[in-house]
């Protein structure tokens, strides 16, 4: 890298977003030998931090510990990356190749990467904005919630997705009373029904009350604090703390206002390029078109996970730096940690029509093998990391060779099968 080529004021690449995706683009550009200027613009004031731990270790800590840094302190500066924090982007000028910042500054770019992430879905009910009702998406959210947990006794969780249930587990570990209210099974959007059932059972055993057949009708409050949550069956649940975890919305406003194609995410091709040839989108904010398999029509997918953010960032950075790359096609994987549940998912279970669980669910260590038309499409592991790691290989290379009957063989393990059946 030739430092003389780095000129932050006339950056060649401007990256909007200082989360996992945005920071990874900057690091990967340098790893790929890119020597031009790089600017990362983030609207959060905090140094880039590890986001998954906000709803786990960081929230569970009983001291005022700092968040886990996303990269070794000083790494971005040493790579010659200019990082502007606490700065919003006001607008994108695609024809003029510039962005305007909230500070009034304009940045020119040759390539623009949108890594704007997603923001929490807002519950449109009177009271949801009060001081003891919390969302959990950013470090500021997590710190506020952590401080409030110290005095809480009776918690209502709205939603039953990953954030909601990770929080519920942290709250139960502190012996708070926890009620979870949601209109569908646990983790419904992300995992198979058999896994949902097990996750629900474990949370109930931990002592949470799960009401998964209803929504929230409204909040009772005194003008400053929510005092109770009324569910859609009319039952009232007293609460001194409410956490709302009902999903995330991709941050697409800048892209949309600039005229880029947007549809629940900034639309990109399999090379992560948007409808503008020099504008890219990666991570939670990006909806990627994928070609159809087996003669099916193509579709698109938007994923919210660290692995997807990092993988897409690496891929886009490599192309920007001049490497030849095909389509982005990494096997998606993600994880969650909820009390005794260490969940690791590879592939996308929502595509599946058949589920096989070899082994004993009651052991607390098992995997759900998910098939679509007889082919393996996802593996969901509970406290079974060896299955998960094998699944990431199997789904990449061998999904079509593994069928429900394969998994039903006595003594089947995925790692063993891969060893005995080299490609």
């Amino acid at each position: 890298m030739n430092a003389a080529h780095i000129d932050g004021d006339n950056a060649d690449v401007v990256i909007i977003g200082s989360g996992h995706a945005g920071v990874q683009v900057a690091i990967s550009l340098r790893e790929e030998g890119y020597a031009g200027g790089i600017v990362v613009v983030g609207d959060e004031l905090a140094e880039p931090y590890n986001r998954p731990s906000l709803s786990k270790e960081h929230l569970a800590a009983t001291d005022s510990s700092e968040p886990q840094p996303l990269t070794p302190k000083g790494q971005l500066a040493s790579l010659g990356v200019r990082v502007l924090l606490g700065v919003a982007v006001e607008s994108l000028d695609l024809d003029g190749h510039s962005v305007t910042l909230s500070s009034g500054e304009q940045l020119a770019w040759g390539e623009l990467v949108l890594a704007t992430g997603a923001s929490h879905r807002v519950l449109p009910l009177d009271g949801a904005e009060l001081s003891n009702a919390f969302y959990l998406r950013t470090l500021a959210h997590a710190d506020a919630l952590r401080a409030a947990l110290a005095d809480a006794k009776r918690v209502v969780v709205v939603g039953a997705g990953f954030i909601a249930l990770e929080f519920a587990a942290v709250a139960r570990a502190r012996d708070l009373e926890v009620t979870v209210i949601a209109p569908d099974r646990a983790l419904a959007r992300a995992v198979s029904a058999p896994l949902s059932e097990y996750v629900e059972r474990v949370h109930r055993e931990l002592g949470s009350e799960l009401l998964l057949d209803r929504g929230v009708e409204g909040f009772e409050h005194d003008g400053t604090r929510v005092t109770a949550v009324v569910d859609s069956t009319g039952v009232r649940h007293e609460a001194d703390l409410v956490v709302i975890g009902i999903g995330a919305i991709p941050r697409t406003d800048l892209a949309q206002n600039a005229g880029l194609e947007v549809s629940d995410g900034i639309l990109v091709g399999p090379d992560l390029r948007t409808s503008h040839p020099h504008v890219w989108a990666v991570g939670d904010c990006a909806r990627m078109r994928i070609a159809g398999a087996h003669g099916e029509e193509g579709t698109s997918v938007r994923l919210e996970s660290v692995q997807n953010a990092v993988g897409q960032a690496q891929h886009a950075a490599a192309i920007i730096a001049g490497s030849e790359r095909g389509d982005y096609a990494d096997v998606p994987w993600f994880w969650s940690h909820q009390g005794p549940l260490r969940l690791q998912m590879a592939g996308l279970a929502y595509q599946a029509d058949e589920f096989v669980i070899p082994g004993d669910v009651d052991s607390g260590k098992f995997s759900v093998f998910c098939f679509r038309q007889g082919e393996l499409v996802a593996v969901e592991s509970v406290n079974k990391p060896a299955d998960h790691m094998a699944a990431r290989v199997a789904l990449r290379d061998r999904g079509g060779d593994i069928h429900p009957d394969t998994v039903r063989e006595p003594g089947f393990t995925l790692k063993g099968w891969l060893a005995e059946h080299p490609a």
Partner: protein
């Protein structure tokens, strides 16, 4: 306070001083030590904080849990049966006031 020394393949090393109770993974990120990612936040679920512990410290470490053991089978640089650990599972402190680890060349 405790010390951790990170060694690299090119012969360089970096020693940091951190509060007792801090993990080898977290210390690297907080103190600007390269080569450790810690993607999962310290739950032994990603194997991106792989380190090779110098032999003289092995006896002072807590045993490898079943989860850590399975993740160590999946490190980017293949596991060393004796010395490989996940940095998030090693905490310095009174029992382990100093440790030397080698940082592998890749984490993913």
């Amino acid at each position: 306070m405790s010390n951790i020394t990170y060694h690299y393949a090119d012969g360089t090393e970096k020693t940091v001083e951190v509060a007792d109770g801090v993990s080898v993974m977290r210390a690297a990120l907080s103190e600007g030590v390269p080569g450790i990612i810690g993607e999962c936040g310290g739950q032994a679920m990603c194997a991106t904080c792989h380190v090779l512990v110098r032999p003289e410290y092995l006896d002072a470490l807590p045993p490898v849990s079943e989860d850590e053991d399975e993740m160590l089978d999946c490190t980017a640089v293949p596991r060393d049966d004796e010395r490989s650990r996940l940095g998030c599972q090693i905490h310095v402190g009174a029992e382990l006031p100093h440790i030397d680890v080698d940082v592998p060349e890749r984490q993913r």
